[in-house]
């Protein structure tokens, strides 16, 4: 009951803010944002609130990228000017922030938000006003395609979508590790893990592999030994475990105790320092995860970014930093190819992005505005994340 009330209120609020945005958009003279010799780009990120660490990371890297571009002469001779709003990790704030950026500041494009939910809150406003919106790290498919399968024409993203990680893991298992008989042990209480498990299964079977067992657990479980025992009896030579580190840490530990020595793999849900405490450094050996970026990637571009970032901020960049940085270059490339700051032309240029060389890998856009890009595979060695390989789709 409470929930329903809330969602009714939220949609009412959303509808009214969108209406204001649309009306305001109509009044303005086209909203070109081409303010003479600068190009205005809006930043709508979680600079405070619950998931501020994501937004702040991306903000830092965006500043670095813009500084570089401007020092290098800008985009076609025009400097980039950033206009920032803090959406306070709140969907309502994200919507009103987008309206302000579009109607008052007349930006040519918006970067943000860091999370899928806060990006979706801006999609409607951006689309109505024909301003491209790029989320650096929103991984839910709903950012660019609605639940009903309709494309949000002006929404884009830099990060790969969740099911894609399953595909990458399947290819890595089949082609790099060359395993044949595989088990899947998935968190049944998260859409993220279920999506990964489904795409892994489909692609691994397509690559000629065999799924010998598929089991599930739910978040907050602590005892995995019984299920692991029955998985072990099927003799898999690889186990795919999509889930979050809190449970995965225990699964890895208990699996090794049961004498399961085969390689284990997961996706970015594993990526937390806590997993080393939970599983133990020894147990994590011979396990692999997928990330968007590794600062140890030997690729020239990744290394150069890592060095520059380190020089400016005195820390090694993580994948949120890399995605924020890449988003600026993705937009720059589109504006250059569009040879215009008109929203629709930039949108069309973004759609035509093909094999753009970014810090997080080669980037192409598919028809659903989902990136087709390489993913980085990390291997745990004695509790440290070690760059293993980069997998192209």
């Amino acid at each position: 009951m409470h929930c329903m009330k809330k969602s009714k209120f939220a949609s009412l609020f959303l509808a009214s803010t969108i209406l204001i945005g649309v009306l305001a958009g109509c009044n303005s003279e086209g909203g070109s944002g081409d303010g003479g010799d600068t190009i205005k780009i809006g930043i709508n990120l979680e600079l405070s609130g619950g998931v501020a660490s994501y937004g702040q990371s991306e903000d830092k890297a965006i500043d670095l990228a813009v500084e570089e571009i401007n020092d290098d002469g800008g985009i076609d001779g025009k400097k980039i000017e950033l206009v920032k709003v803090d959406n306070k990790s709140d969907a309502g704030e994200a919507t009103s922030g987008a309206i302000k950026l579009i109607t008052k500041d007349k930006v040519v494009a918006i970067i943000g938000a860091a999370t899928s939910g806060n990006t979706v809150a801006q999609v409607e406003v951006a689309g109505k006003n024909k301003v491209p919106l790029i989320s650096p790290s929103g991984t839910s498919t709903t950012v660019t395609v609605t639940d009903k399968g309709k494309l949000n024409e002006f929404a884009f993203r830099t990060a790969f979508i969740d099911p894609f990680q399953g595909t990458v893991a399947a290819n890595f298992a089949a082609n790099e590790l060359k395993v044949k008989n595989v088990a899947i042990y998935a968190d049944n209480s998260s859409d993220y893990a279920k999506g990964l498990a489904a795409s892994f299964k489909k692609d691994f079977e397509a690559a000629g592999g065999k799924i010998v067992a598929q089991e599930s657990y739910v978040a907050k479980d602590t005892d995995f030994r019984s299920t692991l025992t029955s998985l072990k009896s099927k003799n898999p030579d690889f186990i795919f475990i999509p889930g979050y580190y809190e449970e995965v840490g225990l699964i890895v530990k208990q699996a090794r105790e049961m004498g399961i020595t085969v390689p284990l793999m997961g996706a970015d849900g594993w990526d937390s320092p806590d997993i080393v405490d939970l599983a133990g450094a020894d147990a994590l050996n011979n396990t692999y995860i997928i990330t968007a970026y590794s600062s140890e990637d030997p690729d020239g571009k990744a290394k150069a970014f890592s060095d520059k970032f380190n020089e400016k901020y005195g820390e090694a960049p993580n994948s949120f930093h890399a995605l924020g940085y890449d988003t600026v270059y993705l937009l720059k490339d589109a504006i250059e190819r569009a040879d215009s700051t008109d929203g629709t032309k930039i949108k069309e240029a973004l759609e035509a992005t093909d094999n753009l060389d970014l810090v997080t890998g080669l980037y192409s856009m598919d028809e659903n505005h989902h990136p087709v890009k390489s993913a980085t595979i990390i291997e745990f060695v004695d509790g440290e994340q070690v760059f293993n390989t980069k997998v192209n789709p």
């Binding site: 049944n188 089991e215 599930s216 657990y217 739910v218 907050k220 602590t222 005892d223 030994r225 019984s226 299920t227 025992t229 029955s230 072990k232 009896s233 809190e246 840490g249 225990l250 530990k253 105790e257 049961m258 004498g259 806590d274 405490d277 939970l278 133990g280």
Partner: protein, 290 residues
Amino acid sequence: MEWVQQLINGISLGSIYALIALGYTMVYGIIKLINFAHGDVFMVGSFIGFYSITVFGLGFFPALIISMTVCALFGVLIERIAYKRLRNATRIAALITAIGVSLLIEYGVIYIRGAQSEAYPDFFKKNFELFGVQIGMQSILILSVSVALMIILQYIVHKTKTGKAMRAVSHDTEAAKLMGINVDNTISATFAIGSALAGAAGVIFGVYYTKIDPLMGVIPGVKAFIAAVLGGIGIIPGAMVGGLLLGVIESAVSAIGFSLWRDAAAFVILILILIFRPSGIFGKNAREKV
């Protein structure tokens, strides 16, 4: 050999349930109170063990003993503050108080140290293989500590003066009072022993399952309650058998591929027991005296 392995998994899990269930059953046996805060005493015990090991650098056995001692005092404290004055109140009042105490402990711990989980340090890493079955030192440890504690408990209940008093109070409080038994002290002793066992279960749980957090007591608490009902609430051997049986059943349910139904299985057992044999496996169908 898979079934032997599953049996070991089940017995390890079951002996943790059994240790917690013993406390439930003892308290119920003596004052007819379902002490819902018991699972949280288990959680507190786990954290005391954790801090003894990580902050004071103690080994497993000293940590176990410290945790049991602190939990015994904690149990007595809870009884003296929350339950004592309700001894002649309605059963429902005491039950609601127990739920309140449970929430107070859970959120008190969250208030003090936050809700994040902790990872127990790795003890007894060694594994050995016996006829193709992996037996961890941890499983052996859990089993031997649990069995040892249960034997000590049986000894206390049947061979000591306190145990005799406990049995007397459980049988008929008023008559025991007339015979000169100090009922208050006996009840305190019951809480102390039950809570100490829960504390021990907490430390064992931490070592075996690694991850502990302030709400970890909720599910094992409920499972232990089911185990106590399964064996016959108020009956000590019943709690042991019920706990072990429940652990084995849960492992078996996972083993045949219904891992998502494991928790449901426990509740199905509770419902079946309440319908067909409310007094439990070891219970006698005694008629209430009017």
